[in-house]
Symmetry: C3
Subunit: 471 residues, 3 copies
Amino acid sequence: MSRPLDLHPDRLLPADPATRSLARELYQSVARLPIVSPHGHTDPSWFAGNAPFGNATQLLLVPDHYVFRMLYSQGVPMEALGVRNPQVDPREAWRLLAHNYHLFRATPSRMWLDWVFAEAFGIDVQLGADTADHYYDTITEKLATEAFRPRALFDRYGIEVIATTESPLDSLDHHAALKAENARPGGWQGKVVTAYRPDPVIDPEFEGFRENLVRFTEITGEDCLTWSGYLAAHRQRRRFFAQMGATSTDHGHPTPRTADLSRTEAEALFAKVTSGSFTPEEAELFRAQMLTEMAGMSLEDGLVMQIHPGAFRNHNARVFERFRRDKGADVPSRTEYVANLKPLLDKYGNEADLSIILFTLDESTYARELAPLAGHYPCLKLGPAWWFHDSPEGMRRFRRMTTETAGFYNTVGFNDDTRAFLSIPARHDVARRVDCGFLAELVMEHRLEDWEAGEVAQDLAYNLVKKAYKL
Amino acid sequence: MSRPLDLHPDRLLPADPATRSLARELYQSVARLPIVSPHGHTDPSWFAGNAPFGNATQLLLVPDHYVFRMLYSQGVPMEALGVRNPQVDPREAWRLLAHNYHLFRATPSRMWLDWVFAEAFGIDVQLGADTADHYYDTITEKLATEAFRPRALFDRYGIEVIATTESPLDSLDHHAALKAENARPGGWQGKVVTAYRPDPVIDPEFEGFRENLVRFTEITGEDCLTWSGYLAAHRQRRRFFAQMGATSTDHGHPTPRTADLSRTEAEALFAKVTSGSFTPEEAELFRAQMLTEMAGMSLEDGLVMQIHPGAFRNHNARVFERFRRDKGADVPSRTEYVANLKPLLDKYGNEADLSIILFTLDESTYARELAPLAGHYPCLKLGPAWWFHDSPEGMRRFRRMTTETAGFYNTVGFNDDTRAFLSIPARHDVARRVDCGFLAELVMEHRLEDWEAGEVAQDLAYNLVKKAYKL
Amino acid sequence: MSRPLDLHPDRLLPADPATRSLARELYQSVARLPIVSPHGHTDPSWFAGNAPFGNATQLLLVPDHYVFRMLYSQGVPMEALGVRNPQVDPREAWRLLAHNYHLFRATPSRMWLDWVFAEAFGIDVQLGADTADHYYDTITEKLATEAFRPRALFDRYGIEVIATTESPLDSLDHHAALKAENARPGGWQGKVVTAYRPDPVIDPEFEGFRENLVRFTEITGEDCLTWSGYLAAHRQRRRFFAQMGATSTDHGHPTPRTADLSRTEAEALFAKVTSGSFTPEEAELFRAQMLTEMAGMSLEDGLVMQIHPGAFRNHNARVFERFRRDKGADVPSRTEYVANLKPLLDKYGNEADLSIILFTLDESTYARELAPLAGHYPCLKLGPAWWFHDSPEGMRRFRRMTTETAGFYNTVGFNDDTRAFLSIPARHDVARRVDCGFLAELVMEHRLEDWEAGEVAQDLAYNLVKKAYKL
């Protein structure tokens, strides 16, 4: 017998009745605000091409490393789920998910998926072995309809603007097409912007770094094997990205280390890392120097800088060999900000025109390092709870550990940071609920007035992200 | 005037009335489940010999480093408590505990002791200076009765199976005797198994390491001063332990560092550490290599592997000189898993037949390292909140920080990990109460359905531990 | 229209009604206890001279780095706030605070300031752009009255004793004057003691270290450029501080590293660091050695030792150049206690007559390192949640993460550690409320009896601090 699927209107609100009632009121005041998604990994071709999404497995299982990592951790082979395995019967893969759905109890993936099932697809029974085929058929059929094409969902979801993330080597053709579409009379008005993510041409340890520089040279016409040409290429490409709507850059380094080398030192280091023969320490130092260079360029062109450090990427050697990147085998590691950021901050830290948004996977830095830094330096803001911490408990820890020292106004609202397009409203909804719950608790303890909580709720859900990302 | 001792039926359940009522219901559904104790330090001779336990001080004070460490921290000399001091009058030692019982307010020791006093001994007044002698007499008298012999308590406590922990140098005579007793018609049926804890022959810095290897040679007939003989001795001894019921090994290393050396390198390193002249780094590397060797053997013989890293043992030099090991002077230290485990995981991480249970004393790794690792690698599971964290707040932090990324099903239920036999039901009871409180909170926030919470409660209290430890 | 300012009597008490009612009762039993302030940075000249405090900006904005750091983080120049800028119109500076007061929502500064506004100055509307001048005038006028002179406030606030913090180079003239005043028939009876903070003559990296040693020599008549003279000077100065009421020393080192060098080694190191040419490691080792020396002297003279490690001071190079120390640019960093304290603990750790109070800015050490250390070593106690963590959430984390292992009786009550004199009652009030809330939660979960909670509340608010600091 299948169980009903039923999203409770009070989900995620605190249990205490008076607090819940306050939280509900706050939540209702922000629940319908437009979605501003300033950082994420949706594919611009979806919106440019507007093709249907395919079947349930292709859309919801194969690309979502949050989902298949959990199944894999319990012994389900990734091949059987269709990950880099087009031979698999997608219905069989879906059944594996359905059969193991209990593994996701109390995880954010479960919450996001249930939202997608109930709200996007109107399914009213819980996913399980007995309902696997019902799910597969319902979802796959609906995906074939007009209402489930990317643009229709974008509009239905009330997305005001969404940012994708591209390498400097990307042509941004889809963004150009979308710009044209926006400008076309009667054209689709959805706003999809890019963000400048230069890791492939900044990180000497990135796969194909040298080939990437060759390509960087071809695209920009600058000689990217000289330090000055390389910097000029960045400047040029950043400008082009900004023309395609980008308001931000993004840097996914292993650590937040920064450096401030002399021009001669930087030039010598660049020669080293582009020679193909360099030590890990030299690679690290080059990334460090480039964060400072990027900050300098941000001061020039106004792009907001995001730093997403601390992931040990591709930790599982065999999974990387067989399945490549982004297969759920990235693991956070201890991250140090205070000493690492000092060179950059010594140079640019007091520039109120510069905006650097810091993220972390190491929650022990929230209260110890990040909130104190952001509560002092004019250029620093704190990105929201990220990745493994983009979850109810994770968000609560973020607020509890940063607010007292950094306040609300050194934070920047919510990022969904996802490629799981259908779950975007669910993710923003979780953030709004958790923030309103937190605010209600503050009001209940008389640490905030109710009218202030109302203002802050609007700020956290909408105003801060617009301002911080200049969107 | 003495105060009543009264264990409230709702203790440890959340304060919010609706949440409490739900938690109570969940708790009642698991409160009477049998106790499965897969890892601990009870003495097998208790059950083999079934002799009475002695007096209150001998049983409850002298062996419990949780208790005397707190008294010592407030200036009570350990000698006066009878620690390695048989001259002390046990009643006087008991009075010191009674007089200082307020020091334990809000500690788990207090909770466990009160349970033992009330439930095991039926005492109904609180321990204090005024009731010290009443306590001493009541407990000591009861301990002389049949009902308080080890086997009677084992049966009364509903213990389905308990694991002790032995060195490879242990003869396991008590386990053999118990096996015979189990097999004897009409014999006692209590199931007491061992676990393979090879630190004394793996850790070059362990007291008497070289003598231990000599003994290892004698016991196994393998030449344990050659690398191949040494490995063969482990294989042989593991097999013997498995025959005596062991389903697991246990490794108490300072760090979770692992290595994957070539045979030649490993052989040279072994020669070094057995020569008696080696550096701390060589000792660490040898322990690292041995974790990987042990994992390989686990793949062969099916023993579940437990890693308990992160304790700085015997931190207090004078206490170690005078009182030796396990005297409350072990202190946790920062522990790193992501880089440390990589060599082992590169070799065996994707083996779904291998089972490695990770523990930590460094809670900053729960959400940052351990949950992400266990939520990906098929061979990894998370042990419960351990040692200093085996407490209501500690358990809550464990669930709040691991569940969203690792789920419930990459955890393994509860371990009491104690030598304080009488407190075992109290410890399991605390875990069940805290877990049910956590589940009730999830249900109240509509993050879990009530029927799911009911299933998970059973799993956390009973099913997961049976499966994870193959018991 | 201005909003009412209204301190709710139940502020900071838990939201659950039954818990709140219990917490309220506990709080009421300690709310009026005298304030014992064993560590802080008020200026003894205030009490010795008893001059009026000046205007609102001079008193509440310019000296409070908690306040101007937040404004600075949002782009308000410090000069405009009057920090090291006497040219500024104080009313204009005040308006900047008022205009930006929303930045402080949910911060402790907001809570302390609101208390000062409402309780000290009787203001009944919230601070904001519209009430800026009303605030400025009201506060400034009241500050000119007798009732707002330092001694009157001291008496009105029910301060039993307050400790200031002075360098060994300080003449302690104000303390001497206060001693005389106390002794004068009909003289003011307020008790203001000093504390021995020798960083300027212990830390080789302190500004003017060598000049400070010259001055140390002049003051003491000991040759402070010889190791024996230097140690003798400390002994002499500590004695003098004790005569001026000091019961404690305080050490603000970057790390809690300790060392136990031989006399020859120490002498050589001292020669090195006083030569003006030394490495950072040598400076660190010297500080380390001096912590052990100070502990030895504490055993002789009975002064309680406080260690406040872990701040990266003056992180912002430009702010330091322009505005100097204590301008909100100190940032906590990761701190290690277990290995660092071992040399000192090996030497003195088992001395029950020695009392060392440990503080931290790294909360990840609460449960992992500090509570286990304090729950074992007789000489160690834990200072309260400090600096960035002296806040409701910070204090709750402190209790939740230390109590189960260290108990309440290895902690020392509250420290306000502030130079913001007017906020002292507010800070103690926050601590009392939060502690009573924590105790009420324990009672509600039946982890503590109500009568025990009552006793502990008194201990946390008053008895422990008196005992720990010998006040």
